[in-house]
Symmetry: C3
Subunit: 337 residues, 3 copies
Amino acid sequence: MADFTGNHILSVNQFDRDAIDKVFTVADSMAPYAKRQKRTEVLNGAILGNLFFEPSTRTRVSFGTAFNLLGGEVRETTGMDNSALAKGESLYDTARVLSGYSDIIAMRHPFAGSVAEFAEGSRVPVINGGDGANEHPTQALLDLFTIKRELEYHGQHIDGLHIAMIGDLRYGRTVHSLCKLLCLYKNIHFTLISPKELGMPQPIIDTVANAGHKLTITEQLEGNMDADICYQTRIQEERFPSQDEANKFRGKFRLNQDIYTKHFQSKTVIMHPLPRDSRMEANELDNDLNLNPKLAIFRQTDNGVLVRMALFALTLGVENLVSKYERDVIWHSNKSS
Amino acid sequence: MADFTGNHILSVNQFDRDAIDKVFTVADSMAPYAKRQKRTEVLNGAILGNLFFEPSTRTRVSFGTAFNLLGGEVRETTGMDNSALAKGESLYDTARVLSGYSDIIAMRHPFAGSVAEFAEGSRVPVINGGDGANEHPTQALLDLFTIKRELEYHGQHIDGLHIAMIGDLRYGRTVHSLCKLLCLYKNIHFTLISPKELGMPQPIIDTVANAGHKLTITEQLEGNMDADICYQTRIQEERFPSQDEANKFRGKFRLNQDIYTKHFQSKTVIMHPLPRDSRMEANELDNDLNLNPKLAIFRQTDNGVLVRMALFALTLGVENLVSKYERDVIWHSNKSS
Amino acid sequence: MADFTGNHILSVNQFDRDAIDKVFTVADSMAPYAKRQKRTEVLNGAILGNLFFEPSTRTRVSFGTAFNLLGGEVRETTGMDNSALAKGESLYDTARVLSGYSDIIAMRHPFAGSVAEFAEGSRVPVINGGDGANEHPTQALLDLFTIKRELEYHGQHIDGLHIAMIGDLRYGRTVHSLCKLLCLYKNIHFTLISPKELGMPQPIIDTVANAGHKLTITEQLEGNMDADICYQTRIQEERFPSQDEANKFRGKFRLNQDIYTKHFQSKTVIMHPLPRDSRMEANELDNDLNLNPKLAIFRQTDNGVLVRMALFALTLGVENLVSKYERDVIWHSNKSS
């Protein structure tokens, strides 16, 4: 992926380290616009087709916001009940039609492979916003971008990183993609902490091992780790054969301030793909961590806007023109400070 | 509330008379833009998060339109079924995430207190668009603004107003808020007309009485009143213990042209929070009033745009800059005349 | 309809040949903007109320895109479940309120006549986006515009056209409207191919015959036709009294490359109102036609944007000002080439 212009973004497998570096450089340059210190109209007149055949409020709004922040307009659709897809239209037809209405498409769909199939019919670039259990590349990129930014605080780089991944590593799409991306870097130490039933799939373990990275696999938090990043995930109770099984695991892979202090060092950054479930007695990420400055979960979602802005700018070939179409921001913004 | 900039608008209790005067002065200044005589781009690049976790077409569109008329963009969400809230995410988390995507948020939610709870997590100002049975401050403000504007036709002021409120005064959130706001003025005469079961709650009656205003409470329309305003409400039949009870009241608090002529003077302005139910035989506000020039119900909804524009401009600190970023309106508008 | 400015577009019956010529001339002039060769801001600040009380993704997005391409903003609503209409509000009230929020309205509604009823209450122009089995005038106009454009390739005009209509001609709203519009032209030859049960309604046959056009009515594809246009429709199986009846017809009115070659000439343009159903074994329009350059179905939907842009420009009186408010397109577009 030497040149992004006009191309689809469907999978993390498309990215080599050069491509990632490019995305992150552009994402960094988007900060003044996302913080409302400056306004750009580089995409004035461009239309994003924000097609969420599977609803997802935050991802949909994040894509739409990113496009607005570049000066573009958003047309969108949520759900599938009344769409032509539900009447038996092929993804090819839907893509041919809807790509006639926009300059670029962000798409989420419940079925694995559907976004790539759609992209074949599309006459404009398609960015995968999640296709079922398959891929959600912008989430993986924003996770990696967050890791890079958090480490930079300490003058550190991704090469040499120690990351602990906790919880449901079997079904958690985000940790799989993140592992793949991290394999593009050097000397990563992965500590994988999960119940045996929810362990990281073997193909991903093989990928990590074959790339020469260090792997520690364990069934629960133990001792004090020197992890730079603690990536927590949600254990979805519906994954278990019975509620009894689920209850057994509940609370074994949670994180709160006490557990954090016991098992991690004060430098360890806490991440999570969100949403976190606040209904359960034992949450995977307790609210008492909200005051911990290392809790990066909301910096992750903020970074998502930067990464999506970068992908839009690169795909539409305007990454070097953004500042040329600047305007002043007039209104008071809590974000500028 | 000396300065609106950067603050939430959650409750009518936040407003003193100075604050209201400020909102109404700005709202008046918005008329040329709402009438499409002029166009402003003062909020070019700003994003409204229009979050309607409880659907409400007209309120949602009114907020969105108001923001567009100031030059801003709108990202929105309707309903809660597929949102992270439904997956157990706390309002705090939702607020932290979604406030990262916008400059200001308008929010409706079915549960009382939810908008204030959300506001605590939000990093941008939040305007309450209705939180269940609790508050709907922009409706109260647009009602009061309409009263002010209608009275000005006759060179009259809100001080000294005689307002008749009819129908379901017990559950009607709008009349409660309106009473509170009117208490900030002098010498108001409230005539409250409702079935005993649907009377104004005692705390509000106390507030009105303690502020030294005149109160007349009656169970049905009687004689000819010198009311300046007749504020009609919808009697929601589901409030009654049985359909028989509902039928008993049906038609006893209706208004049509004959009843209007009998009980009111030709100066009396007719208001209603809308929607009015046109399915019943005996409507609370008959269609034969549509030709009555004192029927102000659609001026109310029009005024809602002005009031919401004012709140956005004040909260984002641009109320004095609106005319500086003017453009000409090019297209033909039925509204300009 | 000498002047479009400020008027509703409710029915194909409003259009005479002059009006159609005007729409098509303006639609042609919209191509550079739809192809992203140029950007116009002629409707900067104007708001479209895109009210889809009956959901229809492609029509809704097409209207919204058309308005964005002219520089305007879109506020929209999808479905009716939570709207005031569902609470018993009259269409008149809904129209009075919502027309206060926008400069022009595009509306779809499941009930015949509803859009015209709504238009009576509206204070801004209303464009019918489909009212049940009644009318969908923009579809008819885009179909006719497509016919015009396809014929122009060969230096041909609509006068003298031979069009074959296939499938469900009884319930297919689009073919009825198209027949009416074609009657405004000269020497049209209509070949109507359908099962007897699904034949063209007699009033439309009478209209065509009375206007002096040539009519051929048949129950299945026969021989090789010199049709310029083959307009295929979807046979909705739910129209049949039983599944057995439906199965009988299934496949008898389909089109694939072999059938096309047998019954049509290589000049014959294939049209369809979309969506086409790809689930059935025997589709009305097989995917093997996708490579046939005469398959115009996606050019139809593209043309829909041009026609809707034209109707917006005409209705808002800016059709001659579009190029005056031009800007350059900065981003890379697959559409420009």
